[in-house]
């Protein structure tokens, strides 16, 4: 196997007394789509800034393309595409101007950039908006433009910090489709997210983070298999009854999570479990059997939900 593109060992970042990242280890291989999943404040964005070679670390080692980003900032950044959490486009300039000036920051020739712009406008589905001021674009369009901008230098690694946060479901699906295409083209993606469905759709492999530390890592399916059951039965008895009923339910289910609004029961066969509840004459107001997700993995690892 060739060297990993990113190699992180014992990475720690402190802001005064606060430890934002606490001894994190991971590697990202070429062509891989790698995710950092965790709630807000888990340290994902801090790690992204360090990977982007713009922020310093307190201790540990980081190698990107075999180089320390702290020592070789410009050289490492020359091979990265960065899509920050907040779009930082130049609103006064047009769509194509934004792509052009960004390409110039990589010292690329005008001819190269102008050819690239055509390709990127098509990729971002913004051909009709090429001469429109960025200010006038919708949130989803701005996001796609920011991603296109990150690709102008044909980077080896694309870093995406919360790529779909704040977008409506339709815009999110368009974006997922675009990112999936990049993945198919073999672009190495590193992304942070607090949406489990996003992580499941886009990541080959991911780490689950909480409070600056990695709780688990693996493929989405592997993590679910390891930390959760095949199916989940969600039952509601009304917020006042949930806790009382849970005491009885413990007798028929090994693992449960009692949330304020519902009870999650982990089982290989959800329907069968529901029948048992019916036999006990407990009559939930609503019930739902679904397959396990990364949300359940996170709940299992931390006792908390991802979006609180």
């Amino acid at each position: 196997m060739s060297n990993p593109l990113i190699c992180v060992r014992g990475l720690t970042k402190k802001f005064g007394d606060l430890t934002a990242v606490d001894g994190v280890n991971f590697e990202v291989a070429e062509g891989e789509s790698f995710g950092l999943l965790g709630p807000n404040g888990a340290g994902k964005s801090t790690i992204m800034c360090i990977l982007a070679a713009t922020s310093t670390r307190t201790s540990g080692t980081v190698e990107i393309l075999d180089k320390d980003p702290e020592k070789f900032g410009p050289l490492v950044r020359a091979h990265l595409g960065v899509v920050p959490q907040q779009d930082n486009l130049d609103g006064e300039l047009t769509v194509s101007e934004n792509l052009f000036i960004y390409g110039r920051y990589f010292g690329l020739s005008k001819k190269f950039i102008n050819n690239k712009i055509e390709e990127l406008l098509e990729f971002a589905q913004l051909q009709e908006k090429r001469d429109v001021k960025v200010e006038a674009l919708s949130g989803g369009m701005k996001r796609r433009l920011t991603i296109a901008r990150g690709l102008v230098s044909e980077p080896d690694i694309l870093l995406l910090d919360e790529p779909t946060t704040g977008l409506d479901p339709q815009a999110r699906h368009i974006l997922w489709d675009r990112l999936f295409r990049l993945k198919e083209q073999g672009v190495t993606l590193v992304l942070t997210t607090h949406f489990m469905d996003e992580a499941e759709q886009l990541c080959d492999r991911l780490v689950v983070m909480d409070k600056g530390a990695i709780m688990a890592q693996g493929s989405p399916a592997g993590l679910i298999k390891e930390y959760s059951s095949k199916e989940v039965l969600e039952v509601r008895f009304g917020s006042e009854r949930n806790a009382d009923v849970a005491l009885v339910l413990r007798n028929i289910c090994e693992r449960m999570e009692v949330l304020p609004d519902r009870i999650l029961m982990y089982a290989d066969d959800g329907e069968k479990l529901l029948e048992e509840i019916t036999v006990l004459k407990l009559h939930p107001t609503t019930s739902l059997v679904r397959r396990s997700s990364l949300e359940d993995v996170f709940l299992r690892l931390t006792g908390r939900t991802l979006i609180e």
């Binding site: 982007a52 713009t54 922020s55 310093t56 900032g73 410009p74 050289l75 950044r77 020359a78 091979h79 990265l80 960065v82 920050p84 907040q86 930082n88 486009l89 130049d90 609103g91 006064e92 300039l93 101007e97 000036i101 960004y102 110039r104 920051y105 990589f106 010292g107 690329l108 020739s109 190269f112 901008r149 230098s153 044909e154 980077p155 080896d156």
Partner: protein, 270 residues
């Protein structure tokens, strides 16, 4: 791997790439820039130079203004103040925008471009605005016969130096801004306005009480005004005084830029 990326070249020319991007934005504001940089001091020149000039000359002739017409006396000061206003605009708004409003600097810094190059690029673009306004303004002064063509052309680089030194300091303060309202109130009302009034702009600084004169001494505008008057007409500064003025403007520029570059790098790395 994109092999078209030449990191050595970017290290050399990165600041110019930033300046080029700034030009693009400034070009979109060209009408406003021309109006502010040329219109504003021109109004002062006409209203005060001609209007107040009549009062001054009717009462004391040119005895208070080194023997020259009042309008010619204030022209070098207005030229320098035009450079200062222009450079200041370009060293303040784009910097607060870059760090705070649109966070453009963070986007630029995600490329091989460094914080130092961003600071210098923004500064160079700002200086070029001063060059543009001051040259046009000088041509207007020639057209209206306020100054004679000749050695007076030196008031152009002097004015640019004034803008440059003031701008270098403003670049630093703008890069530190977290709360902009506070910044604009303090800078605009308590620094720029008094500096404009008490830098010997409309009267010799020596006519002020001694406790107000230090405002002029620390103001790049006063130093540039004195130098400008020497260039525009017989003002009688000694070579030592001229050297001191030049050194002061240079020193402020250098210190301002060093502080700015450090502040840009620190803030981007946060």
């Amino acid at each position: 791997m994109n092999t078209g990326i030449d990191v050595v070249r970017i290290a050399r020319f990165g600041a110019l790439y930033i300046a080029a991007a700034r030009f693009r934005s400034m070009f979109k504001w060209r009408t406003v820039i021309a109006a502010v940089d040329i219109g504003n001091p021109l109004f002062y020149l006409i209203a005060i130079g001609i209007g107040i000039g009549v009062l001054v000359e009717n009462n004391s002739g040119t005895s208070g203004t080194s023997g020259i017409k009042y309008i010619a006396f204030i022209a070098p000061a207005l030229l320098a103040s035009s450079a200062i206003t222009g450079v200041m605009d370009e060293c303040v708004f784009p910097v607060i925008e870059g760090f705070k409003w649109r966070k453009l600097f963070y986007a630029q810094n995600a490329t091989p471009i460094t914080g130092k190059q961003i600071a210098i690029g923004v500064y160079l673009a700002a200086l070029s605005r001063a060059v543009f306004s001051v040259v046009i303004y000088y041509l207007l002064l020639l057209t209206f016969n306020v100054v004679d063509f000749g050695i007076s052309i030196l008031i152009v680089p002097i004015a640019i130096m004034a803008g440059g030194s003031f701008g270098a300091v403003m670049l630093y303060f703008a890069a530190k801004v977290e709360k902009e309202d506070y910044f604009f109130n303090i800078i605009g009302r308590l620094i720029v306005m008094p500096m404009f009034l008490f830098s010997g702009t409309f009267f010799p600084l020596s006519s002020m009480p001694i406790y107000l004169q230090p405002i002029g001494w620390i103001s790049p505008l006063w130093h540039a005004t004195e130098l400008g008057r020497e260039a525009a007409f017989e003002y009688g500064l000694s070579p030592l005084v001229i050297t001191t003025h030049l050194l002061f403007l240079t020193a402020v520029t250098v210190v301002g830029l060093i502080l700015s570059i450090g502040q840009f790098e620190r803030r981007l790395a946060k």
